[in-house]
Symmetry: C2
Subunit: 423 residues, 2 copies
Amino acid sequence: MSDIRLAILESGFGLGGWIPRALDASVQAPRFPGLKGDKLWMAEALVAAMEGIGRSSPNPAVGALLVQGGLVIGQGATETYGALHAERVAINSADVNALQGSTCYVTLEPCGGLNGKQPPCADALINAGITRVVVATNDPHIKAGGLGLTQLKNAGIEVESGCLAAEAKAWHFPFLAYQDKQSPIIIGKWAQTLDGHLADDDNHSQWISGSRSRRYTHWLRQKYDAIMVGVATVLHDKPRLTARESALPHARDPHKIIFDPSARLSSASAETLTALFDKTESLGPIVYWCTDPRTLTLPPVLLPYKDRIEHLPIVDTHNLAGLLAHLAAAHRKRFGRDLQSIFVEGGAQLLTLLMRADLLDACHIFVRAGILGGSRNRIGRLERGENLSLPLMQRTDYKLLTTLAIDDDVLIECVHRRYQFWS
Amino acid sequence: MSDIRLAILESGFGLGGWIPRALDASVQAPRFPGLKGDKLWMAEALVAAMEGIGRSSPNPAVGALLVQGGLVIGQGATETYGALHAERVAINSADVNALQGSTCYVTLEPCGGLNGKQPPCADALINAGITRVVVATNDPHIKAGGLGLTQLKNAGIEVESGCLAAEAKAWHFPFLAYQDKQSPIIIGKWAQTLDGHLADDDNHSQWISGSRSRRYTHWLRQKYDAIMVGVATVLHDKPRLTARESALPHARDPHKIIFDPSARLSSASAETLTALFDKTESLGPIVYWCTDPRTLTLPPVLLPYKDRIEHLPIVDTHNLAGLLAHLAAAHRKRFGRDLQSIFVEGGAQLLTLLMRADLLDACHIFVRAGILGGSRNRIGRLERGENLSLPLMQRTDYKLLTTLAIDDDVLIECVHRRYQFWS
């Protein structure tokens, strides 16, 4: 069968989890007609994990499923940062009498030893009387490091790992990649025509992709910690950059990062600013305004929003890696936690700058099978500055993870080849 | 389930049939874990149809499968033009004692009445004692027109139609679309990066896509009647344009059409011409050289191949539709049959000219998730002449049929929205 496989991941899985679930929380069984046995249950554990979207960061949104005699007796996803991990949520959801001798399917290696704010999950699994644990993928986290699996084995529990590993790695990608990189994972997202245009020459981009693709985008806005856009996108599209159209649960809206080297936000209309600062709760998402350091004080139009703005100087527009380091430090200072992932939604210029600097770790691309034409707003091409003309063998080339059709849009998900944990 | 479907066609089907089979003739069961009942058998009938690739044209390569008591008792595909149709091949392959009461799955409505060179298939099904016929899609052909189904019903046979209709329409696309259009169906094929480049600025295009994608391309070269390329592709790549790497069966190599308005083939190297005229049998594929009408006599380098060349003048490079009509007439005159389909393999300029003239009926596109850069060899953009800058709402936009991963390549198959028979 392996030779005839025409999808890299099992059908429907991608960086956003199982995509039918990302589009619709109420999708019913039978959900995986092509899967059976451990793979079927692990697929359901991955769907269970999706309930933890947004809330668990910077912890991974793990899913756990308990099965006894061919029936699901409990399930759970990691709760908010500092609260219960998925395994305990699943155990708490089950009838205690059914737990003895059950199997636990978990999307990421359970933690062992001392692991931050929670007692180790391995203890909970042992104490519950679970006799078999199936793990999708291991956890490279320095505090985990196989300790949980060793504890389980020492307690006589049968342990297997590697079941739907690639699908779990896709779902947990920002968490896993962050352990390697130790700086924010940058994920690009755009919709384009075959000739690479993200908008027409008058900057109209609404819409190249269809409404279900945008719904998936809003789901992803919950998954990642912050959204980054170029100021031109803010000025042209007046976006709110919230997850309002996402399938449930609706755990959070992301923080917002505006890349604005020439301080053009100072001249934004009231309508644009109202959209951008959508919510006014002091605990809501904040806006990182990355701009000209000469704009040391906030311009008058932005003063009403000063509690929601974090002002960051762009010292060198060519040093995007430096800017990202500044952003990470500012986030850690303000919120006491890592900024693990940044979702870059455009425009073409910002995405191309990041791509040229080799800073894109993964991409969600919606391709529409048509031609737009024009000379602007094209992926891979800068409107000012030097453009590349690479020999064929030196092209960028991401590792393909998923492709599937969402109505008339082709969704392509790919990751940078620097991440070795896929093989 | 319909709401969560993330493929337009059942998994793995496309314009080239069931793509795992197109890549490898020996692919074994279980081939369709997601299908059961009539759909499963019809999927197998479609795979059976693929044995008829190339040989049946301009007849459709129909497949028929006979099932009795849950077992396949016979199968067949349409033979060469003028010989047996699929239904009779299947009946002949079965044990005559098993036929009574069996079900026939057939990918296209069986012919009835008088239908050209063969007695009607409906008669054969009735005489064989078959009691149920499941049809994927109807046949708009003027000679068929529902007559076969009426004959079957009048004989007391249970008839159902519409089973895997979309998958069958994809396989039979050139045949079905030709009934609408009555001139050659033009199918584009190219491999591109995300920024729309088919080659680098030095015209290197070998290879943007991987070896399995090229294998699929060779399969398609059998499916379509002729391959068309621009002369620059001939001069740069020295292609043979044969189906030599195709999965079995290897029924034919296509005829070749060179679009060469400036008669550049006259200066081709001996190596280039040897590759292009690959085979020397007088019955092998011929080369339609579409070129400057001032080149009335063959230049000396082409004289050795004069029996294999059909010389066609390009009177007006802007009138591609006129050229296609000339080609169709020349083909009918030489071979006494319709030129039903032309497979255009590039380069970017010829494909873009056809797209601009709204002449592309369908496309097979291999997208590689990377960026090449450069200023030449890009789909949608002419290197000389006026370029379009369309408003977003006026972009070309094909109907998406299939997307799937072939190794690191994303295969996108789409058709022009003018064909209403999909809905």
